[in-house]
Symmetry: C2
Subunit: 157 residues, 2 copies
DNA sequence: ACGATCCTGGATATTACATGTCCAGGAAGA
DNA sequence: TCTTCCTGGACATGTAATATCCAGGATCGT
């Protein structure tokens, strides 16, 4: 898993804390977390395409949450940044080589290995979908939220 | 996730089907699935180091299951091949940049993002650990198992 | 004893992908 | 109109996955 997911989640958290009255630019977010601005921007764009964030061009523009924190799950962020593909990719090796000398009927049903791996992956996705940005906000120390808001007023207000 | 996991699981399945009276060499397994022998061998070695397989050197040597199929979980195979690291790596970006201007006390407890991602990953691992090689054998069509045994007798017997 | 088979582990190449940078274009506010 | 700021593409870099090769040693069959 790429570190873009970590970046995305933390950025969403900051955006949730400062509210959607104001937008935060890529540059500001990059400074907050000491991340490469241009590359972080690519990830934020992915979140915009997925509807997790919205963006505003021009001066005083930047990014906002695309919907209330209770409606944004970790699954949304992970899918937006990592893509929709499953982490386990079945390449059907059972149909290759000497093992392929079988009646086609045997390959009618799905590969058992693939099914088993998918089962585990579904459990992962289910757990990701069960947790929202709002949950993260609730579990974080209030001081962190307050500090983000103070900083935002200093650099943006 | 690397394709080594798929290779490992299918190889374990074949080894389970032919039983542990005989060993299967890397070359035979590679032919069965049409895989690069030298590279497949590296993955099999990893499974041996993890105790999932055992190896015998010399003529008529090769690989066997390290323990009965009911005692080998998908988690065992995945961990052996992919390594023990978590897929989500928390690099503590909350402690970097402008966001780090906080009392150290705030970083005493674990990062909420990290905790949430770990929760999902645990669900994944739990599901992997709940499924064994024996389960895969039971769900596979009997014809596949029979075919593996016939092939084994032809090339190895 | 000898040759053939076969695992082990290190060194090395190759490739794919994640990471990171840069720039031209357009949109919006001051 | 100037500055800020997003968008998207092109491009460079670094690192990990993939793949190959070889020397060494173990085991079996003859």
């Amino acid at each position: 898993m790429g570190e873009g997911v970590e970046w995305g989640l933390h950025c969403c958290l900051v955006l949730a804390w400062i509210g959607d009255d104001e937008a935060l630019s890529t540059a500001k977010l990059a400074k907050w977390f000491e991340l490469p601005p241009a590359y972080l921007n690519k990830r934020l764009q992915a979140l915009v395409r997925a509807g997790v964030l919205t963006s505003t061009a021009g001066a005083r523009g930047g990014f906002r949450l695309g919907r209330p924190p209770e409606k944004i799950t970790l699954m949304d962020v992970v899918t937006a940044i990592e893509g929709p593909e499953e982490t386990f990719r079945c390449s059907e090796i059972r149909q290759r080589g000497a093992g392929a000398e079988a009646p086609a009927s045997e390959f009618r049903h799905a590969c058992g290995v693939s099914v088993a791996m998918r089962r585990a992956e579904l459990a992962w996705r289910r757990e990701l979908a069960a947790q929202t940005l709002a949950d993260l906000m609730a579990e974080a120390p209030p001081s962190a939220a307050a500090r983000a808001r103070r900083w935002h007023e200093r650099v943006n207000g």
